[in-house]
Subunit: 408 residues, 2 copies
């Protein structure tokens, strides 16, 4: 039986006509080698951001169903153009929207979850020897409403398809050559990592490494889909993401430094120190469909306390509105928002069993006179919220402190 | 029971954010008056042309299924943004793609025909008191492939919906105030026509008046849908298109001058003068899905003849390829194409019963020293193919000759 490969190309890989042609050529190489090829594509270049901007210029709180209707067009353009490019090179390809690809999701617009994939049409066309191109990032509810899977959702489409189609492997193409010990644009001596475990990748993805969407790594882990993340601009081997070899993991304490700038902090002042109020606040916010990330509650003085938490910047307006309402309801004080913040994190399975890692990270920041506003830790990561303007200095200092850099 | 209105807004009516908001306001006016409102929208501004250009930059003969996949995104953007604009103004709206609107078509990609409309979801949402916005120009086959209805197909969507929903009337909004005796950008003293018959409108539309797509006028005629074509930038009454009052029609001989520049001429030289060859040529071309418009065959000399015909410029490459093949097969000579041509036409039901109309038109051209390359006539129109560079002079001369102009 023919081997089957799922390839996903990110927006920068198809940002202009020449790049689309190049991607078509790379796809055809695999086809010529005898593979069945399923391709998942993102929207061209910055299309999604431009569409979001357009939406906000018309309505500052656009209905989410309509937002999905709008955003799904980005990938629909890509799949059509890529199919045209493949045809031009003399091979047969057919493009599918999320709906046509059978990607059934729940109804959580703008961050829907895949319920199942009816891959009937995809399989039919593969059996006709066609290259099948599926729009990433989008799906359809049972009621036939268009949904999107959230930022980086095309990765999820690719991994889920790899699972359902029993692909031999899943390649995730972007404009970088793999996973690095830090973002090389920010930390110039960052090194490429050859292999990384799902758990570490998961932590990195959720902490700002923009190579892979966190949910897609979760799904890959769950179904043991081996991912090769690599560059569409070179033939070099990238980074393999897999369940991980234990031995190797223990050698290294900290694997990478990540950062994120898309969070904002909300503080509710003077929350009465009564049981159940925190629960009330955060259940209201989560009912609004907003994920809260870090939460910090200061020790109470005079039976009142301040509660701070971070949310994605996209959700700041909505979160603020909800927080203001709930604050009034529970008799708390003013609500402040701050969006000039950033998060710097270190990730590594090894750090579990090594004491002093956190202290070393805080030292690196202290050495540069950078104040820490919030701290959060997990099994395999430590994150600090700092002022946004210090983020580059912070990332470099920590990367150096743990000796992650290459020689060059 | 509430009155139901179908409104269609063309690309220029929604070309930017402010215009989208203005359209939303106009829609809400009708909603406030108690109407059920169904809105059909075209792609923003020149989106469709830009998408076509993009496609051709990648593949000079893009597969038509993929072309439809690409073009359908234009209207999907419009419906989402318009729904967002209506929400911002405090009213409930829901957008539907062609598929969601139940617009089922045949499989003739890029110029599909509507087979039926399953208006279930539209009716459901109207009954929930929502404004329903449907993407114009697009539909879906039974196999769930996306199709488009051809240039101006949004008009067809609107008229077909007006029929199926038993709308009280159908408004077609564009950037002009109605139907004119000639394109006012070309013939400055052109006058607005208050009422016009389906037949005259049909002829004008197929002869280049860009207000209404010909097929949508056909459908309107078939089902007696009364159309009000008007400007989205003013409150003025536009032109009513209806079955026509006979008396009024006979008063006027020529109603309007139209022109079109999107045709190209193909000539096959030295076609053997044998029965059946013309049929062979034109059945091959129509099997390629290409509509031929004018056909001229010169008197044969030495048992060979030249055959010329016109096709839409979009189809020129494909038509040329087919024509070259068939020419070889039937032993004809060289094939030439000319795209520097234009067509000027006069339209009017009255001309049937008035002799000398054609002569008067040819005189107007002769007065300006304009050579006629091809002539075609119908019951209610006469068309001449001339060099493109003379088209403005020709339109003005004919408009004057028949005294169609206003005073100003």
């Amino acid at each position: 039986m023919k081997k089957l490969i799922v390839q996903k190309y990110g927006g920068s890989s198809v940002a202009n006509e020449q790049r689309i042609i190049n991607v078509a050529k790379r796809i055809i190489e695999y086809k010529k080698k005898g593979y069945k090829v399923v391709v998942v594509v993102s929207a061209l270049g910055d299309t999604t951001d431009e569409l979001i901007k357009l939406a906000y210029s018309i309505n500052k709180e656009p209905p989410e169903r309509e937002m999905d209707m709008l955003l799904a067009t980005g990938e629909q353009v890509s799949i059509a153009l890529l199919a045209m490019a493949i045809h031009r090179l003399g091979f047969e390809a057919i493009s599918f929207t999320g709906q046509q690809g059978g990607i059934i999701t729940d109804r959580t617009h703008t961050k829907a979850r895949i319920i199942k994939i009816n891959a009937r049409r995809i399989k039919e066309e593969l059996n006709k020897d066609k290259i099948v191109i599926v729009a990433g990032f989008q799906g359809i509810t049972k009621e036939e409403d268009i949904t999107t899977l959230g930022r980086g959702g095309s990765d999820l489409t690719a991994v889920a398809l790899a699972k359902v189609l029993k692909a031999d492997f899943c390649e995730i193409y972007s404009d970088v050559e793999g996973i690095y010990t830090a973002d090389p644009r920010i930390v110039p001596n960052a090194k490429k990592i050859d292999c990384i475990s799902y758990d570490e990748m998961l932590e990195m993805a959720s902490l700002g490494a923009q190579i892979m969407q966190a949910r897609s790594v979760e799904v890959a882990k769950k179904f043991n889909v081996i991912i090769h993340t690599r560059s569409s601009f070179s033939k070099k081997r990238g980074t393999i993401i897999y369940k991980g070899g234990k031995k190797k993991m223990e050698d290294v304490v900290v694997r990478a430094v990540t950062l994120t700038k898309n969070e904002a902090k909300i503080t509710i002042c003077d929350v009465p120190d009564k049981p159940g109020l925190a629960a009330k606040i955060f259940s209201s916010i989560s009912q609004g469909g907003i994920n809260v990330d870090m939460i910090v509650q200061n020790t109470s003085r005079n039976r009142i306390t301040d509660i701070s938490f971070t949310v994605q910047k996209d959700n700041l307006n909505k979160a603020l509105r909800i927080t203001n309402e709930i604050s009034k309801k529970i008799g708390a004080g003013e609500v402040f928002a701050e969006s000039n913040i950033a998060r710097v994190s270190i990730v590594g399975v090894g750090m579990r069993s090594h004491p002093g890692v956190a202290a070393k990270m805080f030292e690196a920041l202290a050495d540069k006179n950078i104040n820490i506003e919030m701290i959060s830790t997990s099994d395999i990561s430590i994150s600090c919220i700092i002022k946004k303007k210090y983020i580059v200095a912070a990332a470099r200092a920590i990367h150096d402190k743990f000796g992650l850099g290459g020689k060059k």
